[in-house]
Structures are given as structure tokens and as C-alpha cells.
């Protein structure tokens, strides 16, 4: 298992430009190794920097924040350009405990000119590698805005909030009819009969119905991938892996 060293943190600052904001009572090295064992911070930051730095026109804000209690490790990489310059870039990952180790995909936005070039996939793959090193149990996401509600459903994230799923169902009831509506209702009914108030609603079963595409595009929900579930982990890994 990798142990973070003082030299690595110095390099993260000196060669990659990441500032460390330590709000804990421990040294950064001790805190990271105690609360987030296994992470190779320098490797992760180096990989993020190699793909994200070239697409910002100016110096980005790069910050690692450590907090305790409760233990939180926050990695932020962002550049906010003048309005309309099309250079804004934002990435944030937050590690915490709930009660097991989880990572929150708070946000990830790249400028239009840098999209569809594999940058998103590369970053997700680098992150996943560290989640495996750290034995992260769940990846959490807040799906919404633009088409996020549809895309993250299709990528296999499960919805955790019963009320949010019900809201989407109500929209579907307004907009769909016949067999399309029956499909949507049957998936919902089956899951919540088996798991009343369950927190792993299989959004992908909805997302892969053509009739749900537009409805999910306008939706807003919280989701997660359970990395302790071999199928969920393998499916997500297949998506972000370039070796496929």
C-alpha cells in the first residue's frame, strides 16, 4: 500500500502547483496516511495536471484541503475565465466517510473546445485507480443540469433517493402513455416492492428506454456506484478504461 511522503507533497506544490490547505491538527503526511491510506496523491495530481493544465489558458487554482473532524480530503482544480471566453474548467473530488470511505464527484466541467477528446474519460480513469488503491466503497454524484440526469443514469449510477425517483416517475406519467408508460411504471414498482425505500434504484433500466431519454435529461437526482458490488464496479471500470 502506498504511503504519502513529505517529498511527494513538496513536489505536488513545487512542480505541479497544488497548494495544500491543512486545517487539521496533524501534519499533512500523518493525516493523509492515517485517514486516507493507500492514496498516491502525487500520482493522481500529476495525472490530473497532465490532462487538465494544457486546456487552461492561464494559471488554474489547484488546492488540496484537509479537514478533521470529520476527516475530509478535498481536491479542487479550477480555472474560471472571464464570462464567455470558453475556458472555464472545474474539477472537484471530495473523500469522506459515510460511514465507509466514499468519494463525491462534486463537479467536473471542461470547456467546450476540449470536449469529446477523451479528457473526461482519462480523468475518471486516473481517479478510479486511486479509489481502488484506497478501497473507496462508493462514488456519489448529483446528477442534473443540462443532460446529467440522463447521462449518469445510462452510465450505471443508481438513484439513492426515493422521493427524487418518484418525482421523475410523476413526470413520466404526465408525458408518456401506453406500453412506454407501462415499462417505466413496472420497473419502478418491481424495485420498490422488492426494496421499499431502497437506495439503489436501477436508473439505467429507465435510461435505456428511448422514451425516458428526454425525461431524464431534465431530471435532478442523487446517485451512487457501489464499488463493493463486483458488477457495478466492473461496469464502471469498463466505461472509463481505455483498454476496452
Amino acid at each position: 500500500m502506498h504511503k504519502v511522503t513529505h517529498e511527494e507533497l513538496i513536489l505536488s506544490n513545487a512542480s505541479l502547483g497544488f497548494n495544500l490547505d491543512n486545517l487539521t491538527k496533524l501534519s499533512s503526511v500523518d493525516f493523509i496516511n492515517r485517514s486516507f491510506p493507500g492514496i498516491n496523491v502525487y500520482q493522481l495530481l500529476k495525472e490530473l495536471n497532465s490532462v487538465l493544465a494544457p486546456i487552461t489558458s492561464s494559471r488554474a487554482d489547484k488546492i488540496i484541503t484537509l479537514q478533521d473532524p470529520p476527516p475530509i480530503l478535498d481536491i479542487t482544480f479550477q480555472y474560471i475565465g472571464p464570462p464567455g471566453n470558453g475556458k472555464t474548467l472545474k474539477l472537484r473530488r471530495t473523500f469522506s466517510y459515510d460511514p465507509e470511505l466514499i468519494v463525491s464527484h462534486d463537479y467536473f466541467y471542461i470547456p467546450p473546445s476540449a470536449r469529446q477528446k477523451g479528457i473526461g474519460k482519462t480523468v475518471l480513469e486516473s481517479c478510479l485507480k486511486q479509489y481502488e488503491n484506497m478501497d473507496v466503497k462508493r462514488i456519489k454524484v448529483h446528477a442534473g443540469l443540462e443532460d446529467g440526469g440522463y447521462v449518469w443514469a445510462k452510465a450505471g449510477f443508481k438513484a439513492t433517493n426515493y422521493e427524487e425517483v418518484n418525482l421523475i416517475l410523476e413526470v413520466a406519467k404526465d408525458k408518456l402513455k401506453g406500453d412506454d408508460l407501462s415499462d417505466v411504471v413496472d420497473i419502478h414498482t418491481h424495485y420498490y416492492q422488492e426494496e421499499p425505500k431502497g437506495n439503489k434504484f436501477p436508473m439505467e433500466q429507465w435510461a435505456r428506454l428511448d422514451c425516458m431519454k428526454d425525461i431524464l435529461r431534465g431530471s435532478d437526482w442523487h446517485g451512487q456506484i457501489d464499488l463493493t458490488n463486483p458488477n457495478e464496479k466492473a461496469n464502471f471500470k469498463n466505461y472509463v478504461s481505455k483498454r476496452r
Binding site: 463537479y107 473526461g120 448529483h142 415499462d183 420497473i187 476496452r244
Partner: protein, 125 residues
């Protein structure tokens, strides 16, 4: 530390990069068909129709899945190459396990004749 930013999320354009492999997308579509059928939500016919999957594509998906299961059961987690797996001896062993040992084996006579013929030519299964 930055405050949580409500104007940004894990954006859709990041996820869209994941869907560029059409063959994997078809596989995922088939996986959803399989899960809804296995869980008893839909009949196979309805699932294929609802998810717009051709029966032939679904059969190919199942065949690939079975192939991977067989590969793992024979070779464990190590990577076996396709030539090894499709070699005659492996197929013979599978056939033997599935059919020959069955008490009502309808192929017993044929197989005995086949083995006999091979032995005459000094070949062995």
C-alpha cells in the same frame, strides 16, 4: 477551500465521452434486457421490444457471456487465448461432460464408432 458550487455538477459532457464505443453500448443494452428478464420485470419478448434489441444481438451477447464463463471455469482467472479454448480437446471434454456421461446418451454409439475409427488411425482423443 472553495464553497460547494451549485452552478456546476458532474457535467453531462464528461459522461458522454463514455458512450463512444457502439459495440459496448449494445452490450450494455443487452445487459439491461438480461437483468429485467432475470428479475421478472419483463418477459424476454417484451424486454427486447422495449429496449430495441434484436434477438440475434441478444443471442450473440449470451454466447459471448457463456464463452467468458467457460473460459474462466477452464482456465481460472488467467488469460487463455481463443485458439486454446476452441481446440478440439477442450470441445471434446465439454461435449463429454454435457452429453456422453448422460445415461440416455443418444450419441454413445456414434462416439464409440468415432473413437474406434480414430484408434485405427492411431489417433487419440
Amino acid at each position: 477551500m472553495f464553497p460547494k458550487d451549485v452552478d456546476y455538477r458532474e457535467e453531462a459532457h464528461i459522461g458522454e465521452e463514455l458512450f463512444d464505443d457502439l459495440s459496448y453500448e449494445l452490450e450494455r443494452q443487452c445487459m439491461v434486457v438480461q437483468s429485467t428478464v432475470e428479475k421478472g420485470i419483463f418477459s424476454l419478448e417484451r424486454a427486447l421490444k422495449s429496449y430495441k434489441v434484436q434477438k440475434e444481438d441478444y443471442d450473440n451477447f449470451l454466447a459471448k457471456q457463456q464463452y467468458e464463463i467457460l473460459q474462466k471455469s477452464i482456465y481460472g482467472s488467467s488469460n487463455a487465448n481463443a485458439e486454446d479454448l476452441s481446440s478440439f480437446s477442450v470441445l471434446y471434454k465439454l461435449f463429454n461432460k454435457l452429453v456422453i456421461i448422460h445415461p440416455k446418451n443418444p450419441f454413445k454409439k456414434t462416439l464409440n464408432e468415432f473413437q474406434h475409427a480414430l484408434e485405427k488411425k492411431h489417433l487419440k482423443l
